[in-house]
């Protein structure tokens, strides 16, 4: 509780941005993990995980009070107005600190403990951590052992610290060649196999940019690329796809990096794909969020804001590059993909290309394997990109969100080709940022092992498997679709309102109808003790488990003797909170 200046503030207004007069009055609680707002006017409390907060702002004082505005990674935006400025300052400083931990050990996953619900049985902590095994995945792909082999050179992460231990390289490449090639690639991220096309022998290979500068060459790199070419004897050339805009790649040459000159790499075809960098993507998302938030509510302002954000254009670019890769592989041509460091655009396009080619990756289990391989094993920097810790804000970028968006675009165009539904993508998106599970913590495999996440935290994959019922796509036809070729015509790239506007007001349904979109996970105050203690429980499970008890609680609260009764239910936490200090 050390960072909680004021654990409970009464008479707080939750403002309705569309209609200020429609604000709700209630009590705001700050626990070690969540902000909770309970209003007697509402059946359900509002719970916001600190880890989900992407920004906390104290807005200018008004005559009515001090507003504090919270933006979340799941695109929820709420503004609370507090009567006393000192309390607003306390809330602001507590949330700012709690939403931006200083060290990995402070992350939610190290506190979270699963328990059973009436919906799903208790999840043993190790469940899910062993679902994925990279060598098993290469066996599943049918990677040809004559041409491809697992090297042990990275067993101690000395070849490439941000790569996994197990790397598939051409069988014909001697260790010295592998090591020489790694030296000529940014951060040692040499070209390694990520997908093998069983029926035609084409390979999808990923890496970082070469350290070529303006005129530099590496005989080892060139020989190694030739080994990759030879590992697919049916094709006499291969593609090198630089997913960056040409200008960016050229700019990198001045810093001793750059791209492959076709002249030095015989029988290769080199192409740029024009996907913008993390800074452009971050700014684009910020503009998109602004466009969604505009209060004017006209079709024009929204469409103009959507256009100005460029967000769909970027999603389209990721899809276009992925389709190019998928089509080449499908035609039997091997493809080497890189960007700068090979952990953002490369992860996006390699993963999406495989999703298009291989129906396995469109199953619940297969999509997990795809994320494990392309994102976790190959070192997408989740800690930096998602801003889990108090760090450099210029490292934050919605690269994974864009991939999930592109996946949603494909799912929307081919609704029968996926075993999972859009809720599955939303659940993954939310838990990438929640840090409730250790799965996405860290920037690479090596870091995750150091943090002992598999021993100390729960796996998202275990949780999702435990709750898989809600993610089954009822339109799925397992044997229906083979290779997918989505349209990237501008008319077919859609705005994913289900992700970016999930929590917008005006979406509730009058007269008991079912809502158009799933609401936020809710939870009863009754469970406060559980959630804030070390014996916590998944938010969603709890919500379902307790839905019946909410009404009972409400009458309890509205009863004048409620304080005493609630205290009886929540002996430790409420006492701690109202008394201040102490803590779990």
């Amino acid at each position: 509780m050390e960072h909680i200046a004021t654990p409970k503030v009464e008479n707080v207004h939750l403002l309705n941005p569309v209609n200020l007069r429609d604000s709700r009055v209630g009590t705001l609680y700050i626990t070690t993990t969540h902000l909770i707002f309970a209003s007697p006017e509402e059946k359900e409390e509002l719970w916001i995980l600190h880890m989900h907060m992407s920004s906390v702002e104290k807005l200018p004082l008004t005559t009515a009070g001090s507003p504090v505005r919270i933006q979340c990674h799941n695109f929820r935006v709420v503004t609370f107005r507090v009567g006393r400025d000192r309390e607003a300052q306390d809330i602001y400083s507590s949330l700012s600190r709690l939403s931006r931990p200083q060290s990995v050990e402070e992350l939610y996953c190290f506190q979270y403990r699963a328990s059973s619900s009436n919906k799903s049985p208790e999840l043993p902590q190790p469940t899910g951590w062993n679902f994925f095994e990279i060598s098993a995945e290469f066996s599943r792909q049918g990677a040809d052992s004559q041409h491809w082999t697992l090297t042990t050179l990275n067993n101690d992460y000395s070849l490439c610290p941000t790569y996994p231990k197990q790397l598939m390289v051409p069988s014909s490449a001697q260790p010295s060649l592998v090591q020489g090639c790694a030296k000529f690639r940014s951060k040692g991220r040499l070209p390694v196999l990520t997908y093998y096309h069983t029926s035609n022998g084409a390979a999808l290979v990923r890496c970082a940019q070469p350290l070529s500068g303006l005129k530099g060459r590496s005989p080892e790199d060139e020989a190694y690329i030739n080994c990759i070419l030879k590992s697919n004897p049916k094709s006499d050339y291969l593609y090198i796809v630089d997913t960056r805009p040409k200008m960016n790649a050229m700019y990198n040459r001045a810093a001793g990096k750059g791209y492959e000159a076709e002249a030095f790499y015989p029988n290769t075809k080199f192409v740029f794909k024009g996907i913008e960098n993390i800074h452009v993507m971050r700014d684009s998302l910020a503009k998109l969020v602004d466009a969604c938030e505009t209060k004017s509510e006209t079709m024009e302002t929204f469409l103009q804001g959507l256009d100005a954000s460029g967000y769909l254009k970027h999603v389209k670019a990721v899809m276009e590059a992925s389709i190019f890769i998928a089509e080449a592989i499908q035609c039997g041509t091997s493809v080497i993909v890189h960007c700068s460091d090979g952990w953002d655009r490369t992860s996006q396009t390699c993963a999406l290309a495989q999703l298009l080619i291989d129906p396995f990756y469109r199953t619940i289990q297969g999509f997990q394997a795809l994320i494990e391989k392309e994102w976790l094993s190959f070192g997408h920097k989740f800690t930096d990109r998602c801003g889990f810790l108090d760090g450099d804000p210029r490292e934050v970028s919605p690269i994974m969100s864009q991939f999930l968006d592109a996946t949603w675009q494909v799912l929307t165009q081919f609704p029968e080709a996926f075993q999972f539904n859009a809720d599955y993508l939303l659940a993954i998106h939310d838990h990438v940022y929640s840090c409730q599970f250790g799965t996405f913590v860290g920037n690479c495999q090596r870091e995750r092992l150091e943090y002992k996440l598999a021993e100390k935290t729960y796996s998202l994959w275990g949780h999702l498997t435990n709750t898989a019922d809600q993610y089954i796509n009822r339109l799925y036809e397992p044997n229906g679709a083979g290779v997918l070729s989505p349209s990237v015509m501008p008319q077919d790239i859609l705005f994913w309102t289900g992700l970016y506007c999930r929590y917008d007001l005006g979406k509730s349904v009058a007269n008991g109808g079912s809502g158009p979109k799933k609401d936020a996970p809710v939870i009863s105050l009754l469970n406060l003790a559980q959630v804030t203690s070390t014996s916590t429980q998944s938010l969603e499970d709890t919500a379902k488990h307790l839905s019946k008890q909410v009404n009972g609680l409400k009458s309890l609260i509205s009863n004048s003797k409620a304080t005493g009764a609630v205290k009886k239910f929540l002996p430790s936490v409420v006492t701690n909170m109202t008394g201040g200090g102490g803590g779990s």
Copy 2:
């Protein structure tokens, strides 16, 4: 065949707008009902119904030949290039004439005859014509006989020629009052019941604008409106919703029409809803089609074109007015809805409001009843609005398409609330324009009886029931949703690419995957004789029936002896066509 100048033109190029070098060469046939393009490079012929053509243009001559461009009501756009200008002129003049019949008797429904397919049994001609009975629908609604009664005053269409014979009016309104009221309403379209809310007694009443001019009054109209108010004893006021923008309604006053002054209609609340008129809607759709056709293919040009068309803004306006009406009815307040003549905006909003309130209208059968009642019985001018005949182009407007679009928006927001899927809406849309069925021919009930459509033509409802399998929404939960309250936030109003861009190129799928969208109905040349004779068959049924035979046909054609063999299959038509003249 009298309007067919050249029934067969060889060496015609079907141009690919994205890549001109990717055009297909083939033979173009013009039959009495369809244009057919057969290319040896393609498995399937392209069939376009003349009735589906919304515009035929002869583009400027190029060195490569004369292009003829065809735009269709189902948003297909094709351009053929013909070597000889005289042939292009023949094609242009034939199609211009065939796509714009001069008289009702020329419409496709009077030639079309159903036959059985392996998918669906033969449809007897009368099937579907008796599915809907307005008095049965009022019984289903539970219309309260104490307060509402069927009047016989319009049995001979003398009260209102564009209304149905059977009209529900307040029981307390004497015939003289009913007649007096009709005299004070545009085209005699007096306020009559269209939906009765069984559980709260609120009534949805529709009409045309009053002939009030600047200061005119009608004691009968005022008394009649009061009867409507009294027919819902639980409420002490009612709404009059003028769906037009206030400016338009005021402008109408100068022409002796206008809107109700609250002062003269005690206990009414009057509101404008700001839906634009048919001319604005027609222009908006034209701009939308342009935006979809832009070849530049960038996200920016499309979003800017979509914004500039204003199309989604108009769909949003229709939804907003409908939600207002639905909420009022749901709260127990009766609502009188009108626009100018009460057959465009009034049909849209009354129908959509009922779709939101009553789950019955979200079933396959219920949606048919809703269209029968709100659109056909109450006289939406399908012949004029859809431009079936060669008439005033300023009467054409996509009012029905907008309603189907708004329905699709609701279906997309509440995927489990509908028994039918989006393909059902597409099928209805296509057949509104195809005139294959007599269902939508004519401007009102009286005209349809005069044309003897129920005796001479097939009903779309029979056909859709016969092929209902493909329209079942697999996500439907019959008891799940009650009243729907869709979001009209700009972020939630989507562009319906499945309708407006169904035939875009770049949507086919490589390597045998299943396509993202259903392709155009296709049909084999083998069936040409059947389709162009009077014993024709539904396009889609035929397509399925013949899919297996297509490959056989292709090898036949590629064979050097094909001409003779094909002629053997198609004795009458091909001979007629190659010989010119004659005809069915």
